[in-house]
Symmetry: C2
Subunit: 245 residues, 2 copies
DNA sequence: TCAAAAGTGTTGACTCTACACCCATGT
DNA sequence: ACATGGGTGTAGAGTCAACACTTTTGA
């Protein structure tokens, strides 16, 4: 218990003026492909609200940093990956007044695509951090903290939709050079479909700037050609979900 | 100046616990079509920060309401339109620490599409409310408050992209029955292109659930056929920006 | 030598654009 | 009657899915 003070001192201390103040967190849906399965990083909550449940990594934004900066800081703290090695974009903001028992806490959700890494560093207020199969996480009997089921559902749909028209799928790959099969398997895993290899390659190569050939194959197979990401910012015309019939 | 109190009372009063508190606003990009021009609602700021500049309508969220609810409340307060008469979706959240001189204030931006209405009710802290041509607003010599130029730019791109694949263009129209020409003119105005009437109609009608015929034309023209929005949630395959070559 | 994976070629179905053309009505 | 705008028909270009086929190497 502290001493008595004037309201003005508190307003200054908490950076309050004439508007209501709320808590703002960033929460990350960190997707990766692990053993051919689309997976997401969850952290077992160690702190009070929702203690013991699995939750998205994240934390409160500091009032000196941009939201994107806060998200990339969390990514580095909780996953140990820098922006160079991953992809990060804002998803949506969630602000139902009942979503957090501590009060009115708004969550700015981000989606990250990262290559699979074995060692995940658990955050300070977390007991445990682990990658889970996404389908498993979204099944009915998997208990998630807060409204994180909704955030994950939205994030998954964003990823599935966005790789259609944005060249970001390669962020799932460990190396920055890759084969056409590796790239195709990313799409097959994320969409949960089979794609015809020949048509996939043709489509990818027909989009200017999607991939660049690094090393041609030794005439053909068993030493497959290597590619790296090109400089295109959009895939046009987009790839199509759905796969073979 | 108030009396001395304990910190706990303040923490309770301001709903603070062990996390930093920030201000959260919702800001609306309200688009309409006025005299064949894509227009956006701006309000001349009457209050302190950025006083006299034009800004997006919006305000602080109350800690008892959902973000979407806050946005629709602002829409009703500042434009006088209900959700039934308009379209509202979350755009993105902006949280640069320097974006507002009052402190760390995060803005959750929404985009609204509304039919053109003549009387716009100015909010309490506003001198003046007015619809402006979007191109004029985004020209270099138009002074906007905060980071609202960026928000408007992002909102405009969202609208231009979204009408390709979501059946929301009809929210720009005053009546809920409309002619094919009226719908086409919405697309032409938003995209700033000319579209071939015949192909546009064929495309629209080929998408199941995009529009329903309300009244067939009196065999053909001068009493054009009337349509209303169908029950489709997406336009697939999407319409294409670009128009005639 | 055979299986597996890379990569090419081809065909039929579908789609889109451009443009010609027809139709009905208000003036 | 004719200009105007709604609406239909169609030919050519392009795209896509499916699938057969060739090539190369590891086992």
């Amino acid at each position: 218990m502290t001493n008595a003070q004037t309201e003005e001192e508190f307003l200054s201390k908490y950076n309050l003026k004439d508007y209501p103040s709320v808590g703002v967190t960033v929460d990350l849906s960190v997707f990766t492909i692990r053993d051919g399965e689309l997976s997401i990083l969850l952290i077992e909550r160690g702190g009070h609200p929702e203690k013991g449940k699995w939750a998205l990594p994240g934390g409160f934004v500091e009032t000196t940093e941009d939201l994107f900066t806060a998200a990339s800081r969390e990514l580095e703290e909780e996953v140990g990956l820098t922006l160079d090695e991953s992809y990060l974009e804002q998803l949506q903001t969630y602000g139902n007044p009942n979503r957090d028992k501590r009060g009115y806490i708004v969550s700015v959700a981000y989606v990250a695509l990262v290559p699979h890494i074995s060692g995940v560093t658990a955050g300070s207020d977390a007991n445990n951090a682990h990658f889970f199969n996404v389908d498993e996480v979204l099944s009915d009997d998997f208990e998630l903290a807060f409204d994180h089921r909704q955030i994950i559902t939205d994030g998954l749909e964003r990823v599935r939709a966005k790789i259609e028209y944005a060249p970001i799928a390669h962020h799932f790959l460990t190396d920055d050079v890759f084969t056409m099969s590796e790239l195709r398997k990313v799409y097959e895993t994320v969409w949960g479909v089979d794609l015809t290899p020949s048509n996939f390659r043709r489509k990818v190569q027909s989009v200017k700037g999607f991939v660049e050939t690094v090393k041609a194959s030794a005439k053909s197979n068993r030493q497959p050609a290597l590619y790296k990401a090109g400089d295109a910012e959009v895939i046009y015309p987009p790839l199509q979900r759905g796969g073979i019939s």
